[in-house]
Amino acid sequence: MTVASFSGVVMLVSALAGFLGALTGLGGGVVVTPVLTLLLGVDMHYAMGASLVSVIATSSGAAAAYVKEGYSNVRAGMLLEIATTAGAVVGAHLTSTVPVPVLAIVFGAVLLYSAWHSMTELPARSAAAGDPLAERLKLNGAFPGPTGVVAYQVTRVKAGFGLMTVAGLISGLLGIGSGAMKVVAMDQVMRIPFKVSTATSNFMIGVTAAASAGIYLRHGYIHPGLAMPVMLGVLGGSLMGARLLGRAKVRVLRRLFAVVIAIMAVEMVYSGVSGGMR
C-alpha cells in the first residue's frame, strides 16, 4: 500500500476507535495498538508509540471539559503521579528488553481485564475510616453534588499508591493510558468518589504518558509518519464522541465495544503464543 492510502485507512480506524472510546468511556487508545498490529500488520513498537501519543492528545484535549465540572482532586492526582510516572519510566525502559510476543500476551491480558471491568458494576463501597496519612497530606476533599457540596474522606493511601505504580508500569510497558486501573485504585481502594476518580484519572493519564514519551522517542518507537494519522484520527473521533456523550444511549454500544475488545484480547494472546508477532 502507498503511504497516502495507508495513512487514510489508519486515520479512519483511529477516528472510529476514538469515537467509540469516548462515547463508551472505555478510552480509544486501548484498541489502537491491537487494530494496527493485528489488522494492519504494523510493528508492535511503532503501534505502541502512536498509541501513546494519541493518549496524551485525548487527555489534554479533554482537560477543559473536566475542569468545568469541578471534580478533580489535584493534590491526590499529583501525589499519585509520583507513583505512575516512576512506574511508567520503568515500564518504558522494559519495552526494549521484553520480547514482543510477551508484550502481546500482557497486552491481551490487560485488554481482557478492561473488557471485564466495563461489563461489571463496581461493588458498592462500605463506609471506612479515614486514613491519617490522607489527613496529613490534605487529600480529603469535596465536590459539587446535586444537593450541595459533598465532602469525602480518602482511605488506604499507601495501597492506592502501590496500585498506581503498577498502573504506571503497564502504561509505560504497553503505550496505553491504563485509565481503568487508575480509576479502580482511586475509587475502590482509596474510596475517592467515582466522578472525582475519573476526572483525576484523566489528568493523570497525560502526565503518565509524557513520562514514557521521552524514552519512546529515544528508542525511535514514535514514527511521525504513523503517529500523524493515529493522533489526528483519535483526537477528532474522541471529540465527536464526547460531544454526543449524554445524548446517546450507550448501554448496548458499551457491551458491544467490550465484546470487540475481548475478541482482540484473545487474538492478541493467540498471536503472541503462536509466534504470529515478532
Partner: protein
C-alpha cells in the same frame, strides 16, 4: 484568584496547546503526503534505533514538522504539572511544591534522558 479559576485557565491553555499541536501535525502531514505519499509504506518492521534530542535527525523536513507537533503535544501535560507547581507555590504549600518537583524531576529524566 481561586483554585477553580486557575484550573479553568490551565484547562483552556491545555486545549489551546492541543489545538496548536494538532495544527502543526496536520500541516506536516499534508506536506508529508504531498511529498512522500506515493511511496510504499513500511511500518511492518522496526527500523528505529536510538535517536537523541531533539529527536528529528534523520527525518525528512515534512516528518520533522510532524515530530515537532508531537513534541508540542507531549509538552502539554508537562506544562500542566508546572502550572500546578506555581499554584501550590502561591498557596505556600511547601509539601505539595516538593511533591510536584519530584514529578517534574521524573518527567525531566524521561525527556532529557537522551542527552
Amino acid at each position: 484568584m481561586t483554585d477553580f479559576r486557575l484550573e479553568q485557565i490551565v484547562g483552556n491553555l491545555l486545549r489551546a496547546g492541543v489545538v496548536l499541536a494538532a495544527a502543526v501535525v496536520l500541516a506536516g502531514g499534508v506536506w508529508y503526503l504531498a511529498a512522500e505519499g506515493g511511496s510504499v509504506e513500511d511500518y511492518h518492521a522496526f527500523h528505529g534505533g536510538y535517536r537523541a534530542m531533539p529527536w528529528t535527525q534523520g527525518l525528512s523536513p515534512a516528518l520533522a514538522t510532524i515530530q515537532i507537533g508531537l513534541l508540542l503535544l507531549i509538552a502539554t501535560p508537562v506544562a500542566r504539572v508546572v502550572f500546578s507547581m506555581v499554584a501550590f507555590g502561591l498557596e505556600r504549600d511547601r509539601v505539595y511544591v516538593g511533591i510536584t518537583v519530584v514529578v517534574l524531576a521524573i518527567l525531566g529524566y524521561s525527556l532529557a534522558f537522551s542527552f
